[in-house]
């Protein structure tokens, strides 16, 4: 009958709305479900996974030595021209000329964190750091030189 169908329709509609309202009331009263992270405050407890790709860095040991041979594999692997390897020739104690890096220039502003350079590196000289707060006021500060001044290649890395 028309009237009964009409009432049923209204009842169904009200019920469906009430179901939704019950769900939002549940969250309104259950503050434990809140998932907001308060970012600058939780900096100390913020744990980024060790694989997080934030920035390319070159680890140096305590003797200020790195593992980079200057083979330019990373430069070739990079799709954006982010890395420029500037090489020089060291004179070894035996008087032999040996290729080494002068500067490894890294343009953070061009980097897409694709990890291809890390994969390409034969001597594990570079890795991804877990930093992520990269904002600076001057774009030039994003161009970084990865090797420390005065650093040299580790013994035994070819």
């Amino acid at each position: 009958m028309f009237v009964i169908d009409y009432i049923k329709e209204v009842w169904r509609a009200v019920k469906s709305l009430a179901t939704g309202m019950r769900r939002t009331l549940f969250y309104f009263t259950h503050h434990r479900e809140i998932i907001t992270q308060q970012y600058p405050e939780n900096r100390d407890t913020l744990n980024l996974p060790e694989r997080f790709k934030g920035e390319v860095v070159m680890p140096h040991d305590e003797k200020n030595e790195h593992r980079c041979t200057g083979c330019t594999a990373c430069e070739l692997a990079c799709p954006n021209g982010t890395i420029k390897v500037i090489t020089k020739f060291d004179i070894s104690p035996e008087g032999k000329k040996k290729k080494a890096i002068d500067k490894l220039v890294y343009h953070l502003e061009l980097c897409t964190m694709c990890n291809l350079c890390i994969e390409a590196c034969p001597s594990d000289a570079i890795k991804m750091a877990q930093t992520f707060e990269h904002s600076v006021f001057d774009r030039n500060q994003l161009t970084k030189i990865l090797n420390n001044p005065g650093s040299k290649i580790m013994e035994g890395v070819e």
């Binding site: 209204v10 709305l17 939704g20 309202m21 769900r23 939002t24 009331l25 969250y27 309104f28 503050h31 479900e33 809140i34 998932i35 907001t36 308060q38």
Partner: protein, 358 residues
């Protein structure tokens, strides 16, 4: 006992002693004006922060929490921001109407404050046609919206205004009809009499099924009338960016914003007065002890408690439901709310005549 009415009486007596009667009346009007503007600003701040907190908790967020203790001063900071913002007027706009519209919206909201009974014997103007006044004045809101939408010279604004016009005019009907059922039961249009008629129980309990239906209809209709979601088609941000106030910025936008919240407060206050007994405390039959405890709670608290509960319900709607489409909005009014409230009014009238309520 300390109460609003006592303060008002003291002020009135003091003014009467110190000045001539006409000067006293003038000062009283100034004081009332200041009080209304102050309440207006305060309500804006409180309701905005309330809305933001309610929405945040329903959306498993924290909400504003940076400015002031627990973010309670956030809306103050926002107001400051809106005040110092540049108020832009678009080139092709009708400048006079464009600038006038937000003021009309605000004046309407202020006018509506007049008959609201905030506490026992505390009312700006207890006119004998209080309910009629409220429903008459509240429909002027649509003019400000139409004015804003038309004068902005923006297609989104115009569409928002047109939608809003259709919506407010249709929902006036069922809001009026549901209010009428209380008028029928009390036999008076005067707010104070309606409140006093609920001394032995609120209408929502006294004539249970029919008044409950008119209460639900009233809440739905006023949600639509104040352009709140799920009936916010005039603003419909995913369709019309911001609807009728797309082109407004700075303080003019803030006035619209404020007027919306004050309108919500007023319709909830009217709803609380009509259906939930206004400032009348909650009494249960002959439980003298319980009733005395209830009487100790100040009447203004009762009033604001009920009003804010209704405001919460309206916010609850907003943060739960998706928006209706324009044709569905009108279908809901003309095919569901209007017949239901008409039949309901008939039954209520029968109940009132036969005296079948408590």
């Amino acid at each position: 006992m300390w109460s609003f009415s006592q303060i008002a009486n003291n002020v009135h007596e003091w003014l009467g002693r110190t000045f001539s009667p006409s000067m006293a009346l003038f000062f009283e009007m100034v004081l009332a004006g200041i009080a209304v503007i102050g309440l207006f600003a305060l309500l804006g701040l409180v309701l905005v922060i309330m809305e933001r907190k309610v929405s945040a908790w329903m959306q498993i967020r924290l909400g504003p929490n940076r400015v002031g203790p627990k973010g309670m001063l956030q809306s103050l900071a926002d107001t400051l921001k809106l005040l110092v913002k540049e108020g832009l007027t678009p080139d092709g706009a009708d400048k006079f109407l464009f600038n006038l519209a937000p003021f009309i919206a605000m004046i309407v909201a202020m006018l509506l404050m007049a008959p609201v009974a905030f506490a026992r014997d505390f009312q700006l103007w207890d006119m004998n046609i209080g309910i009629l006044y409220v429903s008459a004045v509240s429909s002027i809101t649509v003019i400000s919206i139409l004015m804003a939408g038309w004068s902005s010279n923006n297609k989104y604004s115009l569409m928002g205004a047109m939608r809003s016009g259709a919506q407010i005019i249709s929902y006036e009907l069922s809001a009026g009809l549901s209010v009428l059922s209380i008028v029928v039961l009390t036999g008076s249009l005067q707010i104070s009499e309606i409140v006093h008629s609920q001394a032995n129980g609120w209408w929502i309990f006294k004539a249970f099924p029919t008044v409950l239906v008119s209460f639900v209809t009233f809440i739905i209709a006023v949600t639509a009338e104040t352009n709140r979601a799920p009936f916010d088609l005039a603003e419909a941000e995913s369709e019309l960016t911001a609807g009728f106030h797309t082109e407004y910025s700075g303080m003019k936008f803030a006035l619209f914003f404020l007027a919306e919240y004050v309108n919500v407060f007023i319709v909830c206050a009217i709803g609380a007065t009509l259906f939930l007994g206004g400032w009348m405390p909650f009494h249960i039959g002959n439980w003298q002890g319980f009733n005395h405890v209830m009487d100790y709670i100040p009447s203004s608290l009762w009033f604001f408690g009920k009003t804010f509960f209704l405001i919460f319900v309206i916010m609850w709607f907003r943060w739960t439901f998706p928006r209706l489409r324009i044709d569905q909005l009108l279908t809901l009014e003309w095919k569901y709310l209007l017949p239901i409230s008409m039949i309901n009014l008939l039954i209520t009238t029968a109940i009132a005549i036969l005296g079948w309520h408590f």
